[in-house]
């Protein structure tokens, strides 16, 4: 349990779903990366391969066996998540009816806050739409042969574009993987 707790703390940016206390994983030098499933799977695969190689692991494709297999699924790959920016002082009303004036607020589509109709004196309501990207990846390292899970984690991240979101997701998951597989290395953002 102590090991699990330590790993969860170290990998707090990623949601670690399965981390079993590993046996000796120092033998793992070569990881076979199976192309990730889902939209943006190829980009995610490429990002992981680059990151693992930079960390010092030998990486092969699915046809060439490795000491372990890395699989993944891109569960979200959205380039145009829209948020509204209200320009100037804007009154926001909570579901409970409480109102607050905020300078240039940014509001998510599902926000419980509402911008009341009509314009009060001195309160502007001009708005522009901004977009950001969201990438969510779930990855899993399996023992070969046998397919027993050695590590599994998922991470979701927002960025200005899918490239930067994917880069951070890759970095988070690689950091989490390095907790059980130090030879995967660590690299700061």
């Amino acid at each position: 349990m102590a090991v699990l707790g330590l790993l969860a703390l170290g990998a707090c940016a990623a949601k670690t779903a399965v981390v079993r206390p590993p046996k000796d994983l120092s033998r793992i030098r070569r990881v076979s990366v199976v192309p990730f499933e889902g939209p943006g799977g190829q980009a995610a695969t490429d990002a992981f391969v680059r990151r693992l190689m930079a960390g010092g692991l030998e990486v092969t494709d699915a046809r060439h066996g490795g000491d372990a297999v890395l699989r993944g699924v891109v569960t979200e790959y959205k380039a145009n998540n829209t948020l509204m920016v209200f320009l100037g002082k804007t009154m926001l009303v909570s579901p409970g009816g409480q109102s607050v004036v905020v300078d240039h607020p940014i509001v998510s589509p599902g926000a419980s806050l509402a911008v009341p109709e009509g314009t009060a004196a001195g309160v502007q309501k001009a708005q522009v739409a901004t977009i950001n990207a969201i990438v969510a990846v779930s990855a899993r390292l399996e023992e070969t042969p046998g397919g027993r899970a050695l590590w599994s984690a998922e991470s979701t991240y927002e960025g200005l574009d899918v490239e930067s979101a994917l880069q951070t997701v890759t970095e988070i998951l690689a950091g989490s993987l390095a907790q059980v597989l130090p030879q995967a290395g660590r690299k700061s953002l």
Binding site: F86, L92, H104, I106, T130, I131, E158, L160, I172
Partner: protein, 187 residues
């Protein structure tokens, strides 16, 4: 070409003509409404037809607008139509004419960010928080921008400031996650 300032339709060249005359007379752009007013009297003598059109068609609120405000409204109108290149141009003009308007700076930052002009977006958003230190959206966008530019310390500061001002629960969760991630990856 027409600029639609609902409910009035104004020929686009009209403003350009007035701006041209103002620049010819002053050697510089008008800086406030009084300058604008004086310039218009000069325009009235040189371009009487334009001036009559101006009196006939412009609403009182437009009369009070500075050229910067006109470009700002045009920029927002283009943005609503999804014409981001034109919106960017208009907002840049508005920003050049009125560098002390935080809402212009925020709008330019948003549109520049959408077009991938990150250096312009960064400058505009930083200007907006210099003008209005409570500009919530600017901190959110700067957080993302600094992360993309691998400036984790600046990104963390922006997210923390955003967190202290933001009222949106979903975005609060996102900001907390970004701060946590930046701290994790920094060590």
């Amino acid at each position: 070409m027409f600029v639609n300032l609902s409910p009035i339709v104004i020929p686009r060249g009209f403003w350009r003509g007035i701006h041209q005359d103002v620049n010819d007379n002053n050697g510089s752009r008008p800086t406030d409404r009084r300058d604008d007013g004086l310039a218009l009297f000069r325009v009235a003598s040189r371009r009487p037809l334009h001036f009559i059109l101006f009196l006939l068609f412009l609403s009182p609120i437009c009369f009070a607008d500075t050229p910067g405000a006109t470009h700002f409204q045009s920029g927002l109108a283009y943005e609503r139509l999804g014409r981001y290149d034109e919106s960017y141009t208009e907002l840049q003009l508005a920003f050049a004419l009125d560098q002390d308007a935080a809402d212009v700076a925020v709008a330019l930052g948003v549109v520049a960010g959408r077009l991938g002009r990150l250096d312009v977006a960064e400058r505009a958003l930083e200007r907006s928080i210099a003008l209005d230190s409570n500009a919530v959206a600017s901190y959110f966008l700067l957080g993302l921008l600094y992360e993309k530019e691998s400036k984790p310390d600046r990104a963390r500061d922006a997210w923390q400031r955003f967190l202290s001002l933001n009222q949106d629960e979903q975005l609060k969760t996102i900001a907390q996650k970004h701060i946590q991630t930046l701290e994790t990856l920094a060590h």
